[in-house]
């Protein structure tokens, strides 16, 4: 392994290169662009034996993923915001056809007003389309999650596509030290893609035919089983990744920080958790019993793991970087639902929309609210 200071987008591209995809259909969009540029550079320099498919839109990029994987090859792509929105029609087709693939999403607000900056509205809005979603906090985790992602997605008990969600700009354009795994170690960890079925002229087969009312629900039930299977697969892959590379991210689903003896916790996803760690370190020095629950897997949602993580808490706060308009923070909805039987108070905070900074001061305020027994969250500006 070599440790270098690189941009998270570069780390994602290295992760993809190490996984040896056969074809990468790509359409650039801010702030995902550096991922595409770096991959094009790798291919141009002969550092990657892969075809770059220069498509005319994100809809085509996602559609090309179907063809590549159905033909039995590994595919990678990446997008952001409106790009993911344009892919929307194709997302449930990829998962419905049980095609494993990894897509990186540099999370960016959805327009309008136009914003190129980070929040979680793009990928969180797509959470019901049968894609596993791993939300990462650092450049290192971004690289590692791509490698883990193929193992999870291509597991025979799963066969569902996976998104690696990393905060646009806040992470995508950040330089920090990253341990770059060596190719032989990745080859050992990630075997060649073995599709159960593939398009083959010698053995013709139909992919994605019509599902009549007597069969459609069975397909959906199988997909739900596959998503639930992925819970233990994500955990297993996280453990095996630690054995191979010396790093793990919590249990793969939830990443806990200073939860030992904690009375109060914040719950969130992505880079805001890094800043939360700093706030927690400061408050712990003052004797406050506070911790962090970072949700790494939004889908599948780790209900049992969450119930166990919160069981000794007095109160918790969910920080959502997205708002389900007309309802509330979607992560808050999921968390409250999961811990319905846990007797703890839980507040919802909306923060960091459209690139609004989330600071240590915000977390100190949130913990102060919890300690004072405040029953309602708010929008953090």
């Amino acid at each position: 392994m070599t440790k270098k200071v690189i941009e998270a987008s570069h780390a994602i591209a290295i992760g993809a290169r190490l996984c040896r995809p056969a074809v990468i259909p790509m359409y650039p969009i801010t702030p995902q662009t550096h991922v595409v540029e770096q991959l094009a550079e790798f291919i141009n320099n002969g550092e990657m034996d892969c075809a770059m498919l220069d498509v005319e839109s994100e809809h085509s990029a996602a559609s090309a993923v179907i063809g590549i994987v159905a033909a039995g090859s590994r595919a990678f792509t990446a997008t952001s915001s409106q790009g993911l929105a344009l892919m929307y029609e194709v997302l449930p087709i990829i998962s419905g056809m049980r095609l494993p693939a990894v897509m990186a999403v540099a999370n960016r607000a959805l327009s309008a007003p136009i914003s190129i900056w980070n929040d979680h509205s793009d990928a969180v809005s797509a959470r019901d389309q049968g894609w596993i979603q791993l939300w990462v906090e650092s450049s290192q985790e971004a690289l590692d999650a791509v490698i883990q992602g193929y193992r999870i997605s291509e597991d025979k008990d799963v066969f569902m596509p996976l998104m690696v969600c990393f905060d646009g700009f806040t992470l995508s354009h950040l330089f920090e030290p990253v341990d770059v795994p060596l190719q032989p170690a990745v080859d050992k960890f990630l075997p060649k893609f073995k599709p159960l079925y593939k398009l083959d002229v010698r053995k013709p087969m139909t992919f994605g035919p019509i599902g009549f009312p007597n069969s459609f629900m069975h397909f959906k039930k199988q997909q739900q089983e596959a998503m639930l299977n992925s819970i233990s697969v994500i955990k297993k892959v996280n453990r095996e990744f630690k054995k191979a590379f010396g790093r793990a991210y919590g249990d793969g689903l939830l990443d806990l920080y200073k939860m030992q003896g904690a009375d109060y916790a914040v719950i969130g996803m992505g880079t805001l958790c890094g800043t939360a760690r700093v706030a927690i370190d400061r408050l712990r020095k003052k004797g406050k019993r506070v911790g962090l629950i970072r949700v790494r897997s939004l889908r599948p949602f780790p209900e049992k793991e969450l119930q166990s993580a919160v069981k000794n808490l007095k109160a918790a706060a969910v920080i959502d970087r997205h708002i389900s308009l007309g309802q509330e923070g979607p992560l808050f909805t999921d968390v409250r639902n999961a811990i319905y039987c846990n007797d703890i108070s839980i507040n919802s905070y909306i923060a960091g929309l459209g690139g609004r900074d989330i600071t240590v001061n915000h977390f100190e305020k949130v913990f102060n609210d919890l300690e004072k027994g405040k029953q309602r969250g708010e929008w953090l500006f």
Partner: protein
């Protein structure tokens, strides 16, 4: 050490973002943890640009913007009239300005530790072009002692050679060294 935060002000096209990347790589080569990121704007040539570096001896988890820098580097002194370059700078804060003026003439900066260095002049002599972004890091190295000139050289090589610019690497190393000496 405690966390060190650096803010670099420049104009679009001057390479402020690249200079923070080089500084972060250099600090890492000196055995420290580091982080570099730009003020996430829509880049336009000539418009004010800000970019940031954090350096620490432990892993940096903080992801918020830089609000209270310890050091500020101003690549173009005309920015002092349009941007609040001392914003958040504490009373022990240090500001390095590329200018042909003396610190006393920079009235807006009075009350701060100002180092006025004519980096453009040095860049024109050494590089032959007014490329001040990497050269200015020589002054930071000399004044802060937080990153070595040797590590800066290695970082310049790493970033520029990866971009196929070996000649530019050599010239920038020379310019950084000249600014390092001038700032002593």
């Amino acid at each position: 050490m405690t966390l060190l935060e650096i803010r670099i002000h420049g104009r679009g096209g001057q390479g402020a973002v690249t200079s923070t990347q080089v500084l972060a790589i250099a600090a890492f080569k000196d055995g420290k943890y580091s982080q570099a990121f730009p003020n996430f704007g829509v880049e336009r040539t000539g418009a004010p640009v800000e970019s940031y570096v954090r350096i620490d001896d432990k892993q940096i988890n903080l992801r918020q913007h830089v609000y209270d820098p310890d050091y500020v580097i101003v690549l173009d002194s005309s920015l002092i009239d349009t941007v609040d370059v001392t914003k958040g700078l504490g009373k022990n804060g240090v500001i390095i300005v590329n200018t042909d003026k003396s610190p006393k003439e920079l009235k807006k900066l009075s009350g701060f530790k100002v180092h006025a260095i004519n980096i453009t002049k040095i860049a024109l002599e050494v590089i032959g072009k007014p490329f001040v972004n990497i050269a200015s890091l020589g002054a930071f190295s000399s004044l802060s002692k937080q990153v070595s000139l040797k590590a800066l050289d290695k970082a310049i090589d790493e970033l520029f050679i990866a971009r196929g610019k070996a000649t530019a690497a050599e010239l920038n190393k020379k310019a950084a060294k000249a600014v390092y000496e001038a700032a002593k």
